[in-house]
């Protein structure tokens, strides 16, 4: 067997042990192999990745620093699709400079090699502008003077002997890098408002980036802190905001609009209730009484009507998901004051009862009227007294009282306006003489059977499918162990 030549692995720890000097030198920046991320980005820039020359900027560094965070915003950003993180990293979009991401999780280099680029940014020695992204809340390092910081990145000065080095806290990095940054973006509720780490009883004095940098902070482009809140932030909200900013920096787009709290105004202008798919249940006065209900969740604790968020419109990822879409009540995770101002969860938010009572009254009036029209509209003009469907209750199931009501309601509804549609009295006869079934096709007996079945209630099924449904037992109740009608068919290719 061919023996491989083993090259000594220059094993290093994050910070050298006492008395130890970092074993790699700055000109060998990278991981143990001397490979580093910027090198690959350079490959992209020089090779096919980016031929387009819209705008003067080729690349922009993005420093993503973690404070007291759970990495959730990183995870949700990986899922973004509008645009995707790959598109930003590989320069796929015309007019948008390549994003050279310097992220603590995805970097090939670590330790001193990781912080080197940050130091260069601090010294103003980078060859392109940079954006500072901060995830997580800022810890109050006054509480840790003389001790290990709550949150830190690297030990400086780089390459110095251990006894001359000091851990550098993440707030310190922000203090140094924020003024030179083209934009400072706080991502996630922790970074924008304080979030969970800043809730009652926290020992770290956690605060937001805005609180930390103060009202007068302006980036080198003259912008205050940009806030993309959320717990976690919606990945698309972030990549979209970054793309708009990158385009603007590159002279390819307008200044993005931000609201009074620094949120992208086009994303956070409305409450989540306004786009909620359950909104009409609210309007008609139907409220879920238990978990899993499809109605409005207001009475089991939804804060949607007062929270700025648009997850119900955008979806959480690739247009899919969203809290109330799936059945989860809003707990205000995008809002300042989360979580303390929204706990205890699953209790009715203030003003819910008067508001839902009013919509119940409104619903009680409008619902019957809408149902009447709906029932009538849900029929082809040809089917005045019967439908050709074997599934549904016949139209003549409708009670006399309902018909009488509908008759008068229609008079009022169309008072002094024209009754739309065609006005045939009976089943429509086609010019060929064809009459819409059922009688013609299946005979009277069938029609009678279908009719009597459907009269039992709207849940009744077509005779031939009712059998199939009934025999589709739970998998393990079936005699053959684990199979049912549906599952038998499915298991064929698997075996």
């Amino acid at each position: 067997m061919e023996n491989m030549i083993s090259v000594p692995m220059k094993a290093r720890v994050d910070v050298p042990l006492e008395g130890e000097v970092s074993r790699l030198l700055p000109d060998q920046v990278g991981n143990v192999a001397g490979a580093h991320n910027s090198e690959l980005q350079q490959r992209l820039l020089e090779s096919g990745g980016r031929r387009d020359t819209l705008g003067p900027l080729k690349k922009v560094y993005v420093f993503w620093l973690p404070g007291m965070s759970c990495d959730g915003c990183t995870v949700s950003t990986i899922g973004a699709t509008e645009p995707s993180i790959e598109e930003l990293l590989t320069g796929a979009l015309p007019g948008v400079p390549v994003m050279v991401l310097h992220h603590y999780q995805f970097q090939m280099e670590s330790g001193d090699h990781f912080t080197l680029l940050l130091e260069q940014a601090d010294a103003g020695a980078l060859d392109a502008p940079y954006i500072l992204v901060y995830e997580g809340s800022i810890s109050d390092e006054h509480l840790t003077v003389g001790a290990e910081p709550w949150a830190a990145k690297g030990s400086l000065p780089t390459w110095a002997p251990a006894d001359q080095r000091q851990r550098r806290s993440t707030p310190e990095w922000v203090r140094r890098l924020a003024p030179g940054a083209a934009v400072t973006i706080a991502i996630g509720t922790c970074a924008t408002w304080g979030g969970i780490p800043a809730s009652l009883g926290n020992p770290t004095g956690a605060m937001s980036v805005m609180d930390f940098l103060g009202k007068d902070y302006r980036s080198s482009l003259g912008l205050p802190v940009v806030n993309v809140p959320g717990c976690p932030a919606i990945g698309d909200d972030f990549t979209e905001a970054v793309t708009m900013l990158l385009k603007y920096m590159n002279g390819q787009g307008p200044v993005p609009e931000f609201d009074e709290l620094g949120r992208p105004a086009w994303q956070f202008g409305d409450t989540v209730h306004l786009h909620c798919p359950r909104g009409a249940w609210y309007e008609e006065g139907n409220f879920a009484r238990e978990f899993g209900g499809k109605e409005c969740l207001a009475e089991i604790g939804c804060w949607g009507p007062v929270v700025n968020c648009h997850i119900t419109e955008r979806g959480f990822i690739n247009g899919k998901g969203g809290c109330m879409v799936a059945g989860g009540a809003c707990i205000g995770c995008m809002s300042p004051g989360f979580p303390d101002k929204f706990t205890p969860f699953y209790k009715r938010p203030p003003q819910t009862t008067p508001a839902t009572t009013l919509s119940r009254v409104h619903g009680a009036l409008t619902k019957p009227l809408r149902r009447t029209t709906q029932l009538e509209r849900n029929r082809e003009p040809r089917w005045r007294s019967t439908t050709p469907s074997g599934w549904a209750p016949e139209y003549d199931n409708v009670t006399i009282a309902h018909r009488t009501f509908e008759y008068f309601y229609t008079r009022i509804q169309y008072f002094r306006s024209e009754l739309p549609g065609r006005h045939e009295k009976d089943e429509e006869k086609y010019s060929s003489g064809y009459v819409v079934p059922p009688e013609a096709a299946y005979g009277k007996e069938y029609a009678a059977a279908a009719g009597s079945q459907s009269r039992r209630g709207s849940q009744a099924r077509h005779p031939s499918t009712a059998g199939a449904v009934a025999s589709s037992r739970r998998i393990r109740d079936a005699p053959s162990g684990r199979s049912g009608v549906v599952t038998d068919v499915l298991s064929e290719p698997a075996r």
């Binding site: 990293l89 090939m108 899919k320 969203g322 799936a326 979580p339």
Partner: protein, 410 residues
């Protein structure tokens, strides 16, 4: 649940389910089968994000062309000449091609690793609102509004991910075998004692009753068996015993001990003794301090089982399940005592195939990655089978997703 989820943005969903389990045991409430089936889907999908990210974004670059070419030039030469064993499945003809695909940012597998976390995240968001930090976990089940539509959309995404997951097993098998063949000494990279722990997961939809007293019984019915492995031997599968052995120490971390606070829980509800260092008795008291390698040097505490360091996670789960052979034999999954067999149906690009993960002889860095690749398929198949169960339950009209008894906080 909402708060505990936010402990971690990578595995938050698991934390929120864990706290609903805790509340269910405190209140003594069970979960309806539909709730459990949906919860199993959730816990299956949860692994479709961190596991691929680990394999292709974090571990993958270690085996990439940019790294291997420079650290081990002769190995790279060999890779250029070596044909892959499973090229017909994953499409890489030589090891060098495969390794180039591992390159960060430019490699196909790296970019695909980013992309393939999306389908499962979508499925997760469809059922639970968002990922991470699901919005529909409640004590006694879920608050998801379940319908044919959401089950269909979930199933389709699971199948698409499964295709990718099956391919992953062969990619990592090729990597492992290539390094073993190049030099058997690679088997020593990252070796550790075979000490592993897992609490199991995926409660059987018809066995779980939400009681602490019954934990030993319903634990054995989990689709991943709870277990502790010491030096390669399975020592227990009893959830009570696993709980009893847990301890947490802060001697080297920036916290004060809690010796003076007394021991609120000297015994568990079943009467088993608990250590004063058991997490239930713990109180978190941070005390920032200077770093000293001899004394305190970290914010992380040291969890131990029976005072031993244990590995946990994807491979511990597979190992305990395989060794115990106690999980119910499901339609697609089977534990044999030395392996787990995963029967996968056909997927868009690959035929039906039976995959088998065998407990490895040596325990090293390569085996960890390989086990993780199998675990992705395993957890996806749990999710897939539970979608089928959910469909059947729906056919029977059993749509209840949560227990809504008016429980009182004890």
């Amino acid at each position: 649940m909402f708060i505990s989820s936010r402990v971690c943005g990578v595995c938050g969903g698991v934390h929120s389910v864990a706290s609903s389990l805790a509340m269910e045991m405190a209140f003594g409430i069970g979960v309806p089968p539909m709730g459990l089936a949906l919860r199993n889907i959730q816990l299956g999908l949860d692994f479709q994000i961190d596991n691929p990210v680990h394999l292709y974004l974090l571990a993958g670059p270690d085996y990439s062309q940019v790294v291997i070419e420079r650290t081990n030039p002769s190995l790279w030469e060999r890779a250029k000449k070596t044909e892959t064993r499973h090229g017909n499945i994953h499409g890489f003809a030589t090891m060098a091609e495969l390794m180039t695909a591992f390159n960060p940012l430019t490699g196909k597998l790296y970019l695909e690793g980013l992309h393939m976390t999306r389908a499962p995240k979508e499925a997760y968001s469809i059922l639970y609102g968002k990922y991470p930090h699901p919005q529909t976990v409640v004590p006694g089940g879920l608050s998801t509004t379940v319908s044919m539509q959401v089950l269909n959309e979930t199933e389709i995404r699971i199948i698409r991910t499964l295709d990718y997951a099956k391919r992953g097993v062969f990619i990592w098998d090729d990597i492992t075998q290539f390094f073993y063949d190049a030099d058997p000494l690679y088997k020593q990279v990252g070796t550790r004692p075979k000490n592993m722990i897992d609490t199991g997961m995926w409660d059987d939809p018809f066995a779980y009753d939400g009681t602490y007293a019954g934990a030993a019984e319903w634990g054995d019915q989990r689709w991943a068996t709870p277990g502790v492995i010491m030096d390669g031997e399975l020592v227990t599968t009893n959830l009570h015993h696993i709980n009893m052995g847990m301890e947490e120490f802060v001697e080297h971390a920036y916290y004060e001990g809690w010796e003076n606070e007394g021991t609120p829980y000297p015994r568990d509800p079943a009467g088993n003794p608990l250590s004063p260092n058991h997490p239930w008795n713990k109180e978190t008291k941070p005390r920032p301090d200077k770093r000293s390698w001899k004394d305190r040097y970290t914010w992380s505490t040291s969890p131990r089982w029976d005072r031993r360091v244990m590995e946990a996670g994807a491979y511990a789960r597979l190992w305990a399940t395989a060794a115990a052979a106690k999980m119910p034999h499901t339609r697609f999954l089977q534990a044999t005592g030395t392996s787990v067999k995963i029967d996968t149906p056909q997927t868009p690009a690959l035929p039906a195939m039976e995959l088998e993960w065998k407990i490895p002889e040596t325990w090293n860095a390569f085996e960890r990655n390989l086990a993780r690749a199998y675990h992705i398929v395993y957890s996806l198949m749990v999710a897939y089978e539970n979608v089928q169960i959910a469909f059947d339950l729906m056919g029977d009209g059993e749509n209840k997703v949560a227990t809504m008894t008016e429980f009182r906080v004890p």
